[in-house]
């Protein structure tokens, strides 16, 4: 046998260290997790769908799932609407400004999510910035309840996830050939039409990967929903933590995790399919 041939580099082999790492520390634990979600109780062998049945029979749990997906969609759309213009400004900014803008965009990522979340507690409170501002303007008489509501969580999450939407869009905007918009203009296309017909479709891959990142991270984030939402609005990660760590109900927590994973996968597959189609459009 030729040893040299065995170690001849191929592209795939370069990913081997990561593949090994992921198999050991991700795939194997994931398999254990899935296996335990089919247990009757922790440590009891056997196969049952009971944990899943229990989840879907309880309307509280189903509401938690619905709220989580809804939160994911809300935050993704909000990030897209707020993030795209920022990315557009960034891509068209003079080079000297880009450094400062990069810093500003990345700034939220440089502080811990816990710190930012407690910041939001101060901002969203009844005597917080938002309510004081609106009251002083005379727009509202009574302070609005934002803390411990779904809307509060959505607002805070949007700010926290925003960089994850902006960065992929910036990347794909910077790949768009600037001569395309010049060509469109010379052919009589207005700025608005040029954007919707040329620029936006070309940046769809960036938009889709941004949406993927934001959605997946939002539905699985723990700190912000549990602190801003408190005990009154619950999401899947809080439910998993409560079942696994506080109530020591491992198999049920595993089942909830599997359901969350399935939801994320569904969205990933859906958005990827969309991404494929958008790429076809570009070519």
């Amino acid at each position: 046998m030729n040893v040299a041939k065995l170690f001849k580099p191929r592209e795939g082999q370069l990913a081997l260290p990561l593949a090994l790492f992921l198999h050991l520390f991700y795939v194997v634990p994931l398999a254990v997790l899935l296996a335990s979600s089919f247990q009757q109780a922790a440590g009891v062998p056997g196969f049952t769908l009971g944990q899943y049945g229990e989840f879907f029979q309880d309307s509280v749990n189903v509401k938690v799932l619905r709220d989580t997906v809804f939160l994911g969609i809300q935050v993704t759309i909000a990030c897209l609407i707020l993030g795209y213009p920022v990315a557009y400004v960034f891509a068209n900014a003079p080079a000297a400004w880009k450094g400062i803008l990069t810093f500003l965009i990345l700034l939220p990522l440089l502080t811990s999510a816990v710190v930012r979340t407690f910041g939001w507690v101060v901002i969203l409170g009844k005597q917080g910035l938002v309510n004081t501002f609106l009251q002083n303007l005379g727009l509202i008489g009574e302070p609005i309840k934002l803390l411990f509501t779904h809307h509060g969580v959505a607002i805070a999450m949007t700010q926290i996830q925003l960089p994850l939407m902006i960065l992929p869009i910036v990347a794909s905007l910077s790949q768009v050939d600037s001569r395309l918009s010049a060509a469109s203009e010379s052919l009589g296309g207005g700025a608005w039409r040029t954007f919707w017909k040329i620029i936006f479709p070309l940046t769809l891959p960036g938009v889709i990967s941004g949406c993927l990142l934001v959605f997946a991270i939002t539905v699985s984030s723990f700190v912000t929903p549990s602190i801003i939402g408190g005990g009154q609005v619950m999401y899947m990660p809080t439910l998993i933590y409560q079942q696994a760590v506080v109530l020591l109900n491992g198999p049920f927590a595993a089942a909830v995790s599997a359901i969350l994973l399935a939801v994320v996968l569904l969205v990933v597959v859906g958005l990827s399919a969309l991404g494929q189609r958008s790429r076809a459009y570009i070519r």
Binding site: N2, V3, A4, L6, F7, K8, P9, Q13, L20, D58, V60, K63, F118, V121, V122, G125, K126, Q127, G128, L147, F148, T149, H150, S226, I227, G230, G231, Q232, V233, M234, T238, Q242, A244, V245, V246, L247, L248, N249
Partner: protein
Amino acid sequence: MSNSFLAKMSRRSLLGAAAFTGAGILLKSCTNSASTTSTSASQPTTGGKLIATTLPGSWEQFNRTVVVPKFNAAAGAETSLVPLVSADQIAKLKASPSSPPFDVVSMDYGVFDGAPKEELFQKLPIDKLKNYSDLADRFQTPDTWGPLIGIQAVGIAYNPKVVTTPPTSWADLWDSKYKGRVALMAMKNNHTIGFMQKIAKMNGGSTENLDPAFAQIEKLAPNLAGVVANAGALITLFQQGEVDIAPHDLNSVKLLQSKGVDIDWVMPQEGGFALTPTMSIVKNPAASVDLAAAYIDTAISTDVQTQMTETSYVLPTNKNVSIPTEIAQKLGNNLDEILAKLEFLDWATINKNRTEWVGKFDQIVQV
């Protein structure tokens, strides 16, 4: 072996081979590590290292500044503290019961009691503790997993700037003048478990029957500003002036007071309840059992318990500690008088029903 083969041994293939061997050694060491730690566990260590957990916050501060230095000096040991909330300590122990990440745990007894104790902990070797007989009689039990190291008295915390007449009863939380100013921790917190027990018993329920308390929680809705995730989040709300009244423990309130927050604490006329941190030795400690026992012994010594009572306002379990005036004003002059006002919860019953109760509570408070 031909020369042509050697010539083919390029730098890359050599690197590849080296990486392969390296990975092999790494993998082998993975399987070995478990057996090496278990042999070191069976050897008694003299002096040596000890890893102890502590509850975070004021407990960590106290353990770091008082218990650990005292113990290190006395036993010639080197102690690392790991701050973790009770449930996370159990989770970490359950993940590797044969080589646990700590030697001594310090956690809330309510959580401790619900854990699989036989798998994770060992009974306390009382004969190795010099100070065990100094514990108040009711805290001395012959066949114990570990002593209670303090008592946190839970009553009503309020903002004296807004609530000028201090509340007198748990029922005051339902008073319409506190509309939108009451906070509760989520039911997964033992503070709320105890609160619900108290409310149930005031309304014709019992330890097993919390239904009257759940009915009351539904009525609390207009007053409820929020249900917070944990004690830390509750503190933020008080600091922000977001809420004015909530069930909380004396020691946390005193800590906030010392930081200049407008907060005070009162024991309701129906009496409060006790949350009791306990210490226990894990089943397969890396340190010697003697060392672990000595650490627990330090924590219950008269000296440490006196400092704990005076600086942290956690009530002592050691009977030789005299009650400082500030606590005496609120609770009573001696330990017996104070303990008579505090209910010690029946955790065995609570833990049997915990899952069901937490689910029910969440269902009621969901918005």
